[in-house]
Symmetry: C2
Subunit: 225 residues, 2 copies
């Protein structure tokens, strides 16, 4: 919209890297990797963001969005996640493919179409992966959740969000019956092997690495064993 498609992609990437970094700063290398460009390209692009007052950056330091940059990033994130929701809920596409589609469509959605889409979908608060959808005013409520890897043996929980957008991860989870909203129970943990065994309600037991499990967020349920 206001910015070019490339700028929109940088803003979104920086926003997401900033959330996940401890220092609340996006490292230049990660930005470059997220966009599939060389570090030099990312450096020069960040300079333009700084010139446009969308980001702050000092030589050899991390990148941080300004309030204006954050607002723009949230707007793009809203478009991205509403499009994903549309592709799954209305068109019936699989949640493992919609991320890449939304990556392109997000740049072509005008405010008018966005609002019509939002209305058509019933103003959803979460996308198919459980990611919160920023509201039109930029408000964003993250859902309370913990990594599935932190559950103990025997614990029951509801799956509320999947952080990994990679297609093969999502296909594995869907095939295992682990979708957003599903309830599950930890049947065993093998700390030595770094593996936990999970039984989704109404499904059969699956094993996954604790690192993979850490990218799945759950909310523990009162345990009616």
């Amino acid at each position: 919209m206001l910015a070019t498609e490339t700028v929109e992609n940088y803003l979104k990437a920086i926003y997401l890297l900033q959330r996940e970094a401890a220092a609340d700063e996006a490292p230049m290398g990660k930005i470059a990797a997220a966009l599939g460009v060389t570090a030099g390209t990312a450096t020069s692009m960040v300079k333009k963001l700084v010139a446009a007052k969308l980001a702050r950056h000092e030589r050899f330091g991390g990148v941080r969005l300004t309030a204006k940059g954050t607002r723009a990033a949230l707007d793009i994130l809203r478009r991205h996640r509403l499009v994903e929701t549309f592709l799954v809920d209305t068109l019936g596409l699989d949640w493992s493919v919609v991320h890449d589609e939304a990556e392109r469509l997000e740049h072509a959605i005008s405010p008018m179409v966005l609002d019509a889409l939002d209305r058509h979908l019933g103003r959803p608060a979460f996308d198919p992966h459980g990611d919160p959808i920023p509201r039109a005013d930029g408000a964003l409520q993250e859902s309370e959740a913990m990594p599935m890897s932190e559950l103990g043996s025997g614990d029951a929980a509801r799956l509320v969000r999947v952080l990994d957008q990679r297609g093969d991860s999502l296909r594995f989870l869907r095939a295992s019956g682990l979708k957003v909203g599903a309830t599950l129970r930890v049947v065993a943990i093998e700390p030595g092997a770094g593996v936990m065994r999970i039984r989704p309600d109404g499904g059969s037991i699956v094993s996954m690495s604790t690192t993979a499990a850490a990218r799945v967020l759950v909310r523990p349920t009162r345990d009616r064993h």
Copy 2:
């Protein structure tokens, strides 16, 4: 998809200009005007299309798409018109605004999303303006229709297509009750003034210039006067 977004726009513009030109050739100046670009830019871009075997062109002559270029143009046209149909039928947007929206969205629709959209819409044959939607294999059936300007006084007809995509034209037609599928009758013609008076079924009489009426296509109905 295969081509860049700019190339897609050129191909679609050339295709449409070729259809409407007597010589089945798109004049360079019209191409430039359609894309909002200088004539020099269009010339150099057409050279690239020729190099890519998408078009034929000799110096100072008109531009003609190759079979490959025509196929690509039909593919873009299909995306454009399906998107327009979606915006009107599913999202409820007005037919006067969807053209510009589709102009951007058409480039971001993958084959997978396109097919899901097509299925969701019930594989429509015509878009909201009555323009035929090319099929996935490139087949395109134009509907039989004549310009409304060629009707005689007293003639009854059904409106089947609107050629002018300009927002104000479409808003005028909608406000007058002249939408695709509506039946109407010519109540008077003023050749001197270049105006004809039309009564849409269930609406009140409106005047429009014969040049405007020439851009509205109708199919005469058996006249139960």
